[in-house]
């Protein structure tokens, strides 16, 4: 082998090849991190509402606030008037409740940060899932233990399909055996 050629291979080809391999690996790694799917996303909310306090300690049913979860495909973020059912009396002096009251009285909607999201071309239905008895926690995680709500599962098509093919893998151990969910395109996309 000629010296020049070896020199060329070592000086140019090898670094370029290595760069491409590592670059591709790095980019793939970066893009495929669970964090990219939103796992661990924990934004600050306009009012520091604690699910641990309400759902955990006080055992208020999820559906007291997320009213339409059994009626419609949206679980619905509660309107301010639902908060005011209690807080027009309870804990009126606390700073966060003062904030809430202000929103309510000024007739302004509360700009809650969105945490869980499926793409707009996927039509996920809370109604279908909740009415089958699937616990909220199997997708949303143990919200009743969170002070600030965080996304714990990925909401990609992969995770939907995985559960639809083998539902009990994601459900609690003592959950009765479930029929697998539909996996045809129209089940979610229209």
């Amino acid at each position: 082998m000629k010296k020049e050629f070896l020199d060329y291979v070592l000086k140019v080809r090898l670094p370029v090849t290595l760069f491409v391999i590592f670059g591709a690996f790095a980019v793939t790694y970066y893009v495929a991190r669970p964090e990219r799917d939103g796992i661990g996303y924990e934004p600050e909310q306009p009012i520091a509402f604690s699910h641990r306090l309400h759902a955990g300690n006080m055992q208020i049913d999820c559906q007291y606030c997320h009213t339409s979860v059994e009626k419609s495909r949206h679980a619905s973020i509660p309107a301010a008037n639902i908060c005011m059912n209690c807080h027009s009396v309870a804990r009126k002096d606390k700073p966060e409740i003062v904030k809430l009251t202000k929103y309510y009285e000024q007739n302004k909607p509360i700009p809650w940060k969105r945490i869980h999201k499926v793409p707009h071309y996927a039509y996920f239905s809370h109604q279908s899932h909740v009415m089958q008895g699937i616990p909220c926690q199997s997708c949303h995680g143990a919200v009743e233990n969170m002070d600030v709500v965080m996304q714990v599962n990925s909401f990609t098509m992969g995770s939907c399909i995985e559960c639809h093919r083998n539902p009990n893998s994601r459900l609690p151990k003592d959950f009765p055996k479930m029929k697998s969910g539909p996996v045809h395109c129209n089940a979610c996309h229209r």
Partner: protein
């Protein structure tokens, strides 16, 4: 080699002028603006994307959620559209997104007009007026109202008249309001003007029976229906109701019950296209033909109180005008044999004399047995006769009128220039236009006050004696608009009362206090809310009233239409009416039910007459002709329309608007200038002249030469249309099945694909072609439900219309006496779908419930599927059409509210097609499952099925043995489209039956 280079030299693709730097001066402002906007948007997007890619935005919930709103579920509210159609408005989270019929309404039976169906687009039209204008400048409501009231007071004090020009008044409360207005300003005149109305029909009824309220007709009882220049399926009477009732008796399911339809007309209307016998007659012959029919009946039946008129006889009329003797004989026979069960209906706009003759014929036929007096058509203010319009304009010119208020009417367009309204308006001090959007009349007015869309208004509509439809708002006014009644009311109150949205509501409720008392309601609130919930109030109707018309009235009639030169029939457009709906892109783009022309009108002419004048229509290029009557002339493209009488031209009005915004302006040609001061829709003595110019007239479907031996009846030879006569079916019920080329078993045997399993549901549709009249209501409903974009005239010409459902129209027979067939075509959801096999990215697949699914986010736009589809039902987004059409007109922010949130809005490069309304299936399934019920699919109705006035479409689950569809797919009239391909389509067509006398169809 030289040749090779020359090839390039002449090709524009490479030799476009790109020598020097781009000439910025020549670039249009739009493109520069768009470039900057794109730049800005890109920068902003990049910046936000980098800032926090995990940010998913905000969820904005209600502050105080209204009780009846559930996120993600639609609410329905009963209301009424401006044409009096009772409707249910579908709203999602407070914004209206669709229209359906009100199923419990006794007269409409849940069927609405095509205009009401598409009206949702008008609500969100970005070109609606957003604030009051004074002399073209923005002003405030308060200052405008103050000034108007002050000036009205002054004008009234001077003793000059205040003229309120309005359209047909169907609202009792609006009528009361106008009387109140006249109570405050003593010299107020109220002038209802309409171009198309039932004025002549009412005048004739009054002359014969001395009553202003003519009865409704129970069409479903009629065995024989004879329509004279009346398009009962598109523009005369109340089309959705008539389609519903007439087609009840036109179905293969009860073939022995079939009615028979005769259309005597000069052109080919939608009703004529569906008639069993289409008798083409020049309009000048109507009078003598009707009298000849009358005389013939008088001679044969010798009824009491009738005697022959003149020397009109069938033999003479037929011989003189070369009419089809066979068809006329059939007509006379049927009338004789079906007394009490037959009716002659004359087109609403034809001269009074013809209506009078029809009343007399109906009297002989005892047609009063079909009359529903209980549900008579009422009127609150008489629509002006033409002499009264002339008188009004004369007084305007003499300065007797001080102020004119145009209440939601556009007389500057609908009145022919002969009246010289424009000149007369110069003498008026104060001209006020109340209108939704700028039009020809508002351009001539000092004050232009924006009014609410019907969905933002309170109101009541009473077209029938026994029923009042209520209108309630379902959304707050989107712009700073007020409803016209409230504006007039605030002028009546002067400065004493502040305007509030509730102003007219209170007035309306006050009116119904009396009604509630009359109906013995226990308390008003529960009466009112239950009436609003239902959308109507039932009242007492008229008593049956049978009097004999006096023969002298018939003796006094004179021939109303001369038969000289070229005759012209002016008709109301079945889509955009008299031009009032012309700013609705959906209505403009729905192909004309008969000619399939989009975005245009034309002079329909028979092929033989056209040949005589050297005119043709080929490859979408149409000869332009000059039509002149006396000194009036217009130019217009022609269309060769089989079935039109010789030396006759049919023109639809409503087109050629000069001020109808981006959408309606300049679409088609205005033929109103041909009319004279009598507003007669039938003109004679016209001349036509070839101009030598060509005009591009686009149709979504062409037809072959009817006389060509090889192409003739191709649709029958290929079994796209299968038809027969009722007699044929009754004597041999299996005649369609015998024509089948292959049986289902044979098809299965030849298939190379393994069959699919459908364990739960399997969806299918059946369309009864005997019932389908081709009215295109289904197309409009599909557009609304499935977020179909508007592509514009040019793109339609390129074959890129996006409608998921189309209605094919086929002609057989000859061009003089064509036989028309309609075939609604949508995705057939084949079991062995050829599109599925060829998609390289698996974007179109088969679902477990028999749907052919299209997954937009997977589609890369290879268009293999469309190429492999034998039905041409797949539509490709060659552009982002919302962006491309009229410079992004339908892309503006406000139109986001229009979209059905349950259906993806498709973008460029994506294939799309009918989904069998999968969103409705999904919703029904979720509803059933969450209630723990087994899902049978009985409650699923597709948008087209809901909208079909004829109930021709049936949809359902084949696996459910109790469903109607599982019975219909095995019907002995059923056939599939191009079945021989072995692709097993899931739409079953029930063969078209025609009720002709003989078994031969010609």
């Amino acid at each position: 080699m030289k040749l090779f280079f020359n090839l390039f030299k002449n090709k524009s693709e490479f030799s476009r002028k790109s020598k020097s730097a781009p000439d910025f001066e020549k670039m249009s402002a739009e493109s520069r603006r768009r470039f900057l906007a794109l730049m800005g948007a890109t920068t902003a997007l990049t910046a936000t994307a980098c800032k926090d890619y995990r940010d998913k935005g905000e969820i904005i919930s209600y502050n105080r959620k209204p009780q009846d709103v559930t996120y993600g579920k639609a609410n329905y509210y009963a209301s009424t559209y401006r044409d009096g159609s009772p409707i249910l408005i579908k709203t999602r989270e407070g914004s209206p997104i669709g229209i359906t019929g009100n199923d419990i309404h006794p007269t409409s039976k849940g069927k609405v007009s095509i205009q009401a169906e598409a009206s949702i687009l008008d609500l969100y039209d970005p070109e609606r007026l957003k604030f009051p204008l004074k002399n073209g400048n923005k002003t405030e409501w308060k200052t405008a109202n103050q000034e108007i009231v002050k000036r009205l007071d002054e004008i009234s004090a001077k003793g000059k008249e205040i003229a309120i020009i309005t359209g047909k008044i169907n609202s009792p409360t609006y009528a009361k309001l106008l009387n109140d207005f006249a109570g405050k300003y003593k010299n107020t005149g109220i002038y209802p003007i309409e171009l198309f109305s039932d004025r002549n029909k009412r005048l004739a009824w009054n002359a014969c029976y001395e009553s202003n309220e003519y009865p409704a007709i129970d069409w479903s009882k009629a065995n024989v229906i004879v329509a004279v220049e009346a398009d009962l399926f598109a523009s005369d009477g109340v089309p959705p109701e008539q389609i519903n009732e007439i087609t009840k008796r036109r179905s293969g399911e009860k073939a022995e019950n079939f009615n028979r339809i005769y259309a005597i007309e000069a052109g080919m209307s939608l009703f004529g296209a569906n008639a069993d016998y289409h008798i083409r007659v020049r309009p000048g012959v109507y009078y003598s033909l009707l009298l000849a029919i009358y005389n013939d009946l008088v001679v044969k039946l010798a009824p009491f109180g009738h005697s022959t008129i003149g020397d009109y006889s069938i033999e003479k009329v037929v011989a003189e005008n070369k009419l089809n003797q066979k068809k006329i004989n059939a007509l006379l026979n049927d009338l004789l044999n079906n007394q009490g069960k037959s009716i002659v209906y004359v087109g609403d706009n034809l001269p009074v004399q013809l209506h009078i003759i029809a009343n007399f014929i109906n009297d002989i036929l005892s047609a009063y047995e079909l009359y529903d007096y209980n549900s008579s058509y009422v009127e609150f203010f008489k629509i002006l006769e033409t002499s009264e319009i002339e008188n009004l304009i004369g007084r305007m010119k003499q300065g007797e009128i001080g102020a004119v208020i145009f209440a939601d009417i556009n007389p500057a367009y609908i009145l022919p220039p002969d009246f010289d309204l424009q000149g007369a308006l110069k003498n008026i001090e104060l001209k006020i236009a109340l209108t939704e959007r700028e039009n020809e009349t508002s351009k001539l007015s000092d004050f232009v006050l924006p009014i609410n869309h019907p969905f933002e208004s309170w109101g009541d509509y009473q077209t029938r004696k026994n029923i009042v439809n209520l209108q309630q708002p379902v959304i707050e006014p989107i712009f700073d608009t007020r409803q016209k009644e409230a504006i007039l009311l605030s002028w009546i109150y002067g400065n004493n009362a502040e305007y509030s949205f509730d102003l007219y509501h209170k007035y309306l409720k006050n009116k119904y206090l009396e009604v509630a008392k009359q109906l013995n309601a226990v308390d008003f609130d529960s009466f009112w809310y239950s009436a609003l919930h239902d959308g109507f109030i039932q009242l007492k109707g008229n008593e049956k009233n049978i009097t004999k018309p006096k023969l002298i009235i018939l003796r006094q009639t004179k021939k109303p239409i001369e038969d000289s030169g070229i005759s012209i029939v002016l008709k109301k457009s079945p889509l955009i009416g008299d031009g009032r709906y012309s700013s609705n892109g959906w209505l403009q783009e729905i192909p004309h039910p008969v000619s399939k022309i989009v975005w245009d009108n034309y002079a329909a002419i028979s092929p033989i007459t056209a040949k005589r004048y050297g005119l043709d229509y080929k490859d979408f290029k149409s000869s332009v002709i000059k039509i002149s009557i006396g000194s009036k002339e217009i130019t217009m493209p022609i269309l060769l329309q089989p079935g039109v009488a010789e030396d006759t031209i049919i023109i639809e009005l409503g087109y050629g608007r000069k001020e109808a915004g981006t959408i309606g302006t300049g679409v088609g040609f205005d033929a109103i200038p041909l009319m004279d001061k009598t507003l007669s829709v039938v003109l004679s003595g016209a001349k036509i002249e070839k101009t030598g110019k060509k005009y591009k007239l686009f149709a979504t479907q062409e037809f072959h030469k009817l006389e060509d031996e090889y192409l003739k009846d191709l649709h029958r030879k290929r079994q796209l249309i299968q038809d027969g006569t009722v007699a044929m079916y009754l004597s041999n019920p299996n005649f369609i099945q015998k024509q089948r080329i292959m049986t289902e078993e044979e098809i299965d045997k030849h298939s190379v694909n393994p069959p699919h399993n459908y364990p739960e549901a399997k969806w299918a549709m059946a369309i009864d072609l005997s019932r389908c009249v081709g009215c295109s209501n289904c197309v409009a409903a599909c557009n609304v439900e499935n977020n179909i974009p508007i592509v514009g005239k040019e793109e339609c010409g390129n074959g890129r219309e996006m409608h998921w459902m189309r209605i094919d129209r086929y002609y057989s027979g000859t061009s003089e006496e064509p036989i028309v067939s309609y075939l609604p075509v949508l995705c057939q959801h084949c079991d062995m779908a050829p599109c599925e096999n060829v998609c390289p990215v698996v974007a179109t697949t088969h679902s477990t419930d028999g749907l052919n699914q299209m997954t937009y986010n997977r589609c890369v736009g290879t268009r293999y599927c469309a190429n492999n589809c034998p039905y041409k039902v797949r539509r490709f987004n060659f552009y982002d059409f919302r962006h491309r059409f009229a410079d992004g007109y339908y892309e503006q922010d406000i139109l986001e509210l229009l979209h059905n949130p349950e259906v993806t809005v498709r973008s460029r490069g994506v294939m799309e097609k009918c989904t069998f309304c999968v969103q409705r299936i999904a919703e029904a399934r979720q509803g059933a499952k969450s209630k723990g019920k087994e899902f049978t699919g009985a409650e699923v109705r597709t948008a087209c099925q809901e909208a079909c006035p004829a109930n021709a479409i049936v949809f359902g689950n084949v696996n459910d043995p109790n469903s109607e569809i599982s019975r219909l797919i095995k019907h002995n009239l059923g056939y599939k489209l191009i079945e021989i391909l072995g692709i097993k389509p899931n739409v079953t067509y029930l063969a078209k039956l025609r009720n002709t006398n003989s078994e031969d169809l010609t």
